[in-house]
Structure formats: structure tokens, C-alpha cells
């Protein structure tokens, strides 16, 4: 299972590297990324192949380093698992990578989990663990995983990792925190660790999600301070619309 988890993380980081190095495909790339994340154990092979396909230079103690064939650059990752519950925060090193944007832009979002399938339906309700906002700054690509995982199950816990990639402006980093419970990624968060300008826009491209189900809830069923959509109109427009409608009816 070490390799499986490693596959998860590596595929994820490889995904980061790919997206970070490209300029396009917000939805597709992110969707792919989340697909990988949401895949359950049976898809670990796919995750591994995804890692390979990514051609990232990520290497670790458990996966053979794949060759870097593109601009995707090295990744480093750390992970830890809570022995018993999902409430443990990954011990990411507190070294500060200067990340003014990351700390201000990143607000934890809680979303309801997808009801079916392994599709990338975002994340679960807020977990008790707060993802660390700091990122490992070790330059050595390495992954350390806890060993004794239960048979064919990932250990519940919160994992954080930092991916780096080369941009025209230099090496950039993305921090990722995953919460895994019962073999599923229940929460993932990104830290945008990059600086301003072009790199930031690349990272902003990655910092997007996509959900292909829209369920919605009845407004009457939840407490809201306000509702936002297209403006409710108060005056002339609605009056005119009513006139048009009544004219349309009378013509039938």
C-alpha cells in the first residue's frame, strides 16, 4: 500500500507539474487531477500510469524516478498518516516559502461530497484538521510514508505535499493537502505558493475545480442572508415582461 499511496501523491504532483507547466485547460486538467484523486483503490494502477505519463521528474524512495521529458520539474512530497483518525495534521515543515498570495487567497471551502461515482465532486464537509499553510521546502524529492497500512486500505489521515515546477520566472511551488478517509480523498486543498505575475496566473489556472453535477437545494430549505443571481428586477422590466406574456397568451 505504500506504493499505492505513493501513486496517489505522485500522480497528484505530476498533475500539478503538468498543469503548472501548461497554459491551458483549466477544467480538463483539474478534472483529470480530481479524477485521479477520487479513484479508489482499484484505480491505483491508473494512478501509477498517470504518474508515468506525466513524465515528471518526481522520484521517491518507493517509486522509481521517471524521466523528466518535459518542462515538468521536480516534486517533493511528504506525507504522514494518523494512526487512528483523520484528525491529524501533516507535519509539514514550517519553513516559510514566501507566499503572500497563498495565505491571503486560500480560504478553505467546504463542499458537499458527490453522492455517487468516483467523479471529482469536490470535497467533503469540513474536516477537523486544518491544512497547513506552510510548505516543505526541502529540495530533495522524497516521499516518506508510514508503513503498516491495513490490508488494501489507505490509512485515514491528512497528507500534505509540495509540488514544484519550472516556469519562465523560475521554480514555482504548489502546496497540496489531502484528507483521506476510508480510502477516499475527502478533502483537498491547494496552497498557491507562487509569486505575482505570470506564475500566479498559471497557478490560478490550476486552482479551479469542476463539478459535473449540479443538484441544488430548495431555497426554502436553508437559511440564507441573501440570494444572488441575475438581478431580480423591480420596475419597468418586469412590467414590460408581463405585458409581453399577456400579449403572447392572447395571440394563442
Amino acid at each position: 500500500m505504500r506504493t499505492n499511496r505513493t501513486g496517489y501523491l505522485m500522480a497528484m504532483l505530476a498533475g500539478l507539474a503538468i498543469v503548472g507547466a501548461s497554459t491551458g485547460g483549466v477544467v480538463a486538467a483539474t478534472s483529470h487531477h480530481n479524477d485521479t484523486l477520487a479513484a479508489d483503490a482499484s484505480a491505483s494502477a491508473a494512478a501509477q500510469s498517470s504518474t508515468a505519463a506525466a513524465s515528471s521528474a518526481a522520484s521517491s524512495s518507493t517509486t522509481s524516478g521517471s524521466t523528466a521529458s518535459s518542462s515538468a520539474a521536480s516534486s517533493s512530497a511528504t506525507s504522514s498518516s494518523a494512526e487512528s483518525s483523520s484528525a491529524e495534521v501533516a507535519p509539514s515543515s514550517a519553513a516559510a516559502s514566501s507566499a503572500p498570495r497563498a495565505t491571503t487567497a486560500r480560504t478553505p471551502a467546504s463542499r458537499t461530497p458527490a453522492s455517487t461515482t468516483t467523479a471529482p465532486k469536490t470535497t467533503a464537509p469540513p474536516t477537523t484538521s486544518k491544512p497547513s499553510t506552510s510548505a516543505p521546502t526541502t529540495s530533495k524529492p522524497s516521499i516518506s510514508t508510514s508503513t503498516a497500512a491495513a490490508a488494501s486500505q489507505f490509512k485515514d489521515g491528512t497528507y500534505s505535499a509540495t509540488g514544484s515546477y519550472n516556469s519562465p520566472g523560475g521554480t514555482e511551488k504548489l502546496g497540496v493537502t489531502l484528507t483521506i478517509a476510508s480510502d477516499k480523498v475527502t478533502k483537498s486543498e491547494l496552497d498557491l505558493l507562487g509569486g505575482a505575475g505570470l506564475s500566479h496566473s498559471f497557478q490560478a489556472a490550476f486552482a479551479a475545480g469542476y463539478s459535473d453535477l449540479v443538484i441544488g437545494k430548495d431555497i426554502s430549505g436553508i437559511t440564507l442572508g441573501a440570494v444572488s443571481g441575475s438581478s431580480l428586477t423591480g420596475m419597468g422590466f418586469n412590467d414590460a415582461l408581463k405585458q409581453i406574456e399577456s400579449q403572447a397568451r392572447s395571440q394563442q
Binding site: 491571503t104 426554502s220 436553508i222 440570494v227 443571481g229 441575475s230 419597468g236 422590466f237
Partner: protein, 287 residues
């Protein structure tokens, strides 16, 4: 905040201003005067506005000082969206029936939207047009007015406030305020909730101000027709001017291109289905 709420209609929509204590009458007068001044400048729905006069005469026109921020944002969004957020869509909207008389009847043929550089010159608050053009500030105007009203409230030290222009809002508060994101296909449903403490949230969708046959108020200058790729957008940003402008811009541009210039979070619904969101979006999505 146990709010005192002031509700009124202005610039074609419903407004609500909530404050901890009731606003004194002189302040209410100031607020309504400010709205009137804004409307008399920027509305293309009233014949006595500056925009209407400018449309009739062309030439050179001096806008009030508050126009600087608005014109600047339009120029920026125009550049960032390749001309698809434009103040020059006024005539196209009229052509589609969204005119001062609310005819809501499409006229024959198609409308074209001129390019900014072909017709318009902006220097400070001086706007010049080589030919008469009907400016439309529908993309960001309401958001800007929300900011201007919020500014008045801050200047008068009213404490926390909510300025809600029918779902486009600016707020100052201590607690989290939950704003439902209206389902563009079903106004009785919300697709999610945005958490706003202090800041602005604006949404844009074609569903409400629509008048049939796919006609709505967000026009794509490339085609002169209503935008079709995106159903609805919501943006949370520091100011309602920016949030409102970006909500329209997200109909025409990729978020990453806008994120290169603005700090914001967003949710949007493409016509192809699903929901896109930025991972810094604070709230829930019911998916």
C-alpha cells in the same frame, strides 16, 4: 447585527440597506441623492442622462470624477477579454429589445458592436466619440453604485452594513453572511452558498432579465448576440465594482486570465453543464 433595513427601488431594481441602527433621515437623503446623481450620469434608460445626451451628440463629453474608476475598469476588462466586455454594447442591447422603453422586441437584422479604438477615446474623465455611441455600463455600473453607497455609509460611521442591490452586494461585518447562489434554471433553488463576511459578491446570469428566444442582457460584442457559453457567474472580491465587472467578464474570459490582474474567487456554470469554481471560493456547492 440586528438590522434596521431600508428597502427601496432604484436604477431598475430592488435595493436593501441594512445597518445596526436605523439610518438618520439626512443620511438617507444623501444616499438617494447619490443614486440619482449616478443614474442621471450613467443610465441609458433615461433621456436626461449624460449617457443619453452623449449618444445623441457624440463629440466630447466630461464625466464626473467618479467615472475614472469605472472607465478604468472597463478598459482593463476590455483588454483582458479581447474586447468582449465593452461599454459599447448599448446599441446592440437596444437592437435586441433591451431599450429605454423596454420594448423587449428584437429588431430585424443583426447589430454590430464597434471596437473601442475605432470610436472611443478616454482621457481621464473626458470621453470622446468619433461618432455617436450609446454607452452601456450594465456590466459593472451597479456594482460601482453599491461601492459608492457603501462609501457613504463608511464615511458616516454607521458600523457594519449590507448594501444589497438585488443579489449584488457589499458588506462589512464580523460574522459570516450566507448568500445563496441562485440556480439559473430554477429561481426556487440555489446551487450553493457563498460565505461573505466583509467584501463584495456579485452575480450575473441571463435568466432573469431575459425576454425569450435566448435574449438576455449580456451581449457578446463579437456577435452582437446574447452570450451563450456561460449560464451564470458569481464573483467575490474586495469591491463590488470589480466583482460585478468580473462576473460579466467570466462570461467571456478564462478565470486564469482575469486572475493575473485581480484577486477574486468565483463560481460559474457553463452551458455545457456542471459548475466551475476557484479553490479559494469560501462556501458550499450542492453537487
Amino acid at each position: 447585527m440586528s438590522p434596521s433595513r431600508e428597502v427601496f427601488d432604484a436604477i431598475g431594481t430592488s435595493w436593501s440597506i441594512e445597518t445596526a441602527t436605523a439610518l438618520p433621515t439626512p443620511l438617507l437623503v444623501t444616499i438617494h441623492q447619490r443614486i440619482e446623481q449616478f443614474d442621471r450620469t450613467y443610465s441609458r434608460f433615461r433621456p436626461d442622462s449624460l449617457v443619453s445626451a452623449f449618444a445623441a451628440t457624440g463629440g466630447s463629453c466630461e464625466f464626473p470624477p467618479d467615472a475614472i474608476a469605472l472607465l478604468h475598469l472597463y478598459r482593463e476588462l476590455y483588454e483582458l477579454t479581447g474586447g468582449r466586455v465593452s461599454p459599447l454594447v448599448g446599441s446592440a442591447l437596444e437592437h435586441l429589445g433591451y431599450d429605454a422603453g423596454y420594448s423587449l422586441r428584437r429588431r430585424p437584422g443583426s447589430a454590430t458592436v464597434p471596437r473601442w479604438t475605432d470610436v472611443l477615446t478616454v482621457e481621464g474623465t473626458t470621453v470622446s466619440a468619433r461618432k455617436p455611441v450609446l454607452l452601456d455600463f450594465g456590466a459593472a455600473g451597479k456594482g460601482y453604485l453599491i461601492d459608492l453607497l457603501a462609501l457613504i455609509l463608511r464615511e458616516h460611521d454607521v458600523g457594519d452594513y449590507l448594501v444589497d442591490g438585488s443579489g449584488d452586494l457589499a458588506r462589512r461585518g464580523q460574522d459570516v453572511f450566507r448568500v445563496g447562489l441562485e440556480h439559473p434554471a430554477d429561481p426556487t433553488k440555489v446551487i450553493g452558498v457563498a460565505n461573505v463576511t466583509s467584501g463584495a459578491l456579485c452575480g450575473s446570469a441571463g435568466n432573469r432579465r431575459a425576454w425569450g428566444d435566448g435574449l438576455h442582457h449580456i451581449v457578446d460584442p463579437r456577435t452582437g448576440e446574447p452570450a451563450t457559453e456561460i449560464l451564470a457567474t458569481w464573483v467575490v472580491a474586495e469591491s463590488a465594482l470589480i466583482a460585478d465587472g468580473l462576473a460579466t467578464a467570466l462570461f467571456f474570459a478564462e478565470p486564469r486570465d482575469l486572475a493575473a490582474r485581480f484577486s477574486f474567487s468565483y463560481v460559474r456554470m457553463p452551458a455545457t453543464g456542471g459548475v466551475e469554481y476557484s479553490t479559494n471560493f469560501d462556501g458550499e456547492l450542492f453537487t
